[in-house]
């Protein structure tokens, strides 16, 4: 992918992970790009994404849900996000939703209603991608530290930070395993299991080392996170517009359709 060469620190992203969901370098790259949507405060973007997800789940009108999907797509395009890649990531929630939706007609749902659930699942995933790909991880962590207990926010921060390092290690191990040829199925399953065991033990030992490093630097149970973000007047308008749009959609559903 074209953004691989532009990631920081010479880190290479993995093709395996990017097939299913956005990797850490991709999030870092896209979240630091410049666009009108990027310039909004993290809280504004969180309110927009969550309100749209809630409304999309609540609505029963196909037209209105399609309208939210369209809005999500337009905002993603305006934020210069890779739409084609986002579509491929959408296949995972779509697959889970299909598993359920193919059974719904058996209990009285019409095909349209089953299809509507698929659209809702994908739209909700788009809105989450929109939030994550336009907001730096540190800003999300800062918001998490305000909403969650500090120990939980710290754990989340550490998880997001070290995800790529562990993944890179796993990638090397899988490559090494694949380089040894293609044994029968049972043997391959055993090989994968051994790779996972090795990965787990290595990861655990690294965690112990990181704890020692953190403790020696004075970690006492709270990582201080600062951010230059300011909640500006345009954020107030954006949040108001998002909430007003949500109310209008509910009003139209209840009183017009």
């Amino acid at each position: 992918m074209w953004w691989r060469n532009k990631t920081q620190g010479g880190l290479r992203t993995s093709s395996v992970i990017e097939r299913y969901l956005p990797s850490t370098p991709m999030i870092e790259y896209f979240s630091t790009r410049k666009s009108f949507y990027h310039s909004f405060h993290t809280i504004s973007k969180l309110v927009f994404s969550l309100s749209m997800v809630l409304i999309a789940v609540y609505l029963k009108s196909a037209v209105l849900v399609a309208l939210i999907s369209l809005v999500a797509l337009l905002v993603m395009a305006s934020a210069r996000l890779p739409l084609k890649t986002v579509m491929s990531w959408s296949l995972t929630p779509l697959l889970f939703a299909v598993t359920l939706c193919i059974l719904l007609p058996l209990i009285g749902y019409s095909l349209l209603e089953a299809a509507l659930i698929l659209v809702k699942a994908v739209t909700a995933a788009w809105l989450m991608f929109l939030l994550v790909l336009t907001t730096p991880i540190t800003n999300l962590a800062r918001l998490a530290s305000k909403l969650l207990p500090s120990w939980l926010a710290d754990t989340l921060m550490l998880t997001s930070r070290y995800f790529f390092l562990v993944f890179d290690e796993a990638q090397k191990m899988v490559k090494a395993m694949n380089a040894r040829g293609s044994p029968p199925l049972r043997r391959r399953v055993m090989l994968v299991a051994n790779v996972m065991a090795s990965l787990f033990v290595k990861g655990y030992e690294r965690a112990e080392k990181v704890y020692v490093a953190m403790a020696s630097r004075g970690y006492g149970g709270k990582i201080p996170i600062t951010s230059p973000e300011r909640f500006k007047i345009r954020d107030v308008f954006f949040v108001a517009a998002a909430l007003a749009f949500s109310f209008i959609l509910v009003y139209v559903e209840v009183f017009v359709f």
Partner: protein
């Protein structure tokens, strides 16, 4: 995936709230208790464990279907124990939801299913370990919770989706009565409807129950129904919907459809987890909490 990971939109919002509160009470309470017991080191380790499990989930495992992935929740229960695994499950669910891999509104439902797998795996291992070796104990402690969680997820879905006939009642009736123009003659030909007519005339209580459900439906105002030209047809259709949408029926259909595939993938996951736990116990026996607790219990019994 050997378990069901729900996306947004599959459940009505009121049921999302119910599962969210239930998960908050259960997992939240365990997390608060766990944090009091865990030191700073364990919290850092929990963060790494989350990452490792998350990454392990992404490693493709070969299977006759062409490749699958394991979800590692039973493994989390075995290596971290029920307390720490609550933290891990919360973080994994939250991150997956943010990355579009599982819903935001169904976060509570997903957390409950995943946490059940962790706790059940730990308990199964503790029970089995005194009689069997590490591999057999880990294998069984993985496959049993994964199969049981299919029933749990089906049950939660059945109550949430099929237990809300008001969710689609209006559309169904509108389609049947107004769009397709069903008339009494056509309805009477249907043996099911005929039975309902008989039930209606004999004062079947199901009829009254159905009226209550319709009256509470936000989609179909009671006024419309009382003034509808085909009142009886509408009511018969409504009864049919209520019958067809019974949670038990949905549970049977959904479980029957998902259990074979889930069981097959669970066998692969149990094989992998068995080897991983066996190797880990050989290399670092101190990091597998379930093994430590089982050995401690045996020592206590031995003494």
């Amino acid at each position: 995936m050997a378990h069901i990971h729900l996306p947004d939109g599959v459940m009505p919002l009121e049921w999302c709230a119910v599962w969210f509160v239930a998960a908050g009470l259960l997992v939240g309470l365990v997390m608060v208790v766990a944090v009091r017991r865990l030191g700073l080191k364990q919290r850092v380790v929990a963060a790494f464990l989350t990452v490792v499990l998350f990454v392990a989930m992404l490693i493709p495992v070969p299977s006759p279907f062409g490749g699958t992935h394991v979800n590692m929740t039973p493994f989390a229960g075995l290596v971290a124990g029920p307390a720490t695994s609550a933290i891990i499950i919360f973080m994994v669910s939250l991150i997956l939801a943010l990355l579009g891999h599982g819903g935001v509104t169904v976060l509570g439902a997903n957390m409950l299913v995943l946490y059940f797998e962790c706790v059940a795996a730990y308990l199964f291992y503790r029970i089995l370990r005194s009689r069997f070796n590490v591999y057999v104990s880990a294998f069984t402690a993985t496959i049993a919770p994964l199969i049981l969680s299919t029933f749990l997820a089906s049950g939660m879905l059945s109550v949430s989706v099929a237990g809300s006939p008001s969710y689609y009642l209006g559309e169904y009736m509108a389609e049947g009565v107004l769009v397709h123009g069903l008339f009494p003659e056509q309805l009477a030909e249907n043996p099911f409807i005929h039975e309902l007519v008989h039930g209606y005339l004999s004062g079947n209580p199901l009829f009254h129950e159905a009226i209550d459900k319709l009256a509470s439906s936000p989609l179909l105002p009671w006024i419309w129904l009382s003034s509808a030209p085909h009142l009886e047809e509408a009511l018969f259709l409504m009864l049919r919907v209520v019958e067809a949408s019974s949670p038990m029926r949905f549970f049977m259909v959904f479980t029957a459809a998902t259990l074979p595939v889930n069981t097959f993938v669970a066998v692969i996951e149990a094989t992998v987890t068995g080897v991983v736990v066996q190797s880990t116990v050989k290399l670092r026996p101190d990091v597998v909490v379930a093994e430590q607790d089982a050995r401690r219990a045996e020592d206590v019994v031995g003494n």
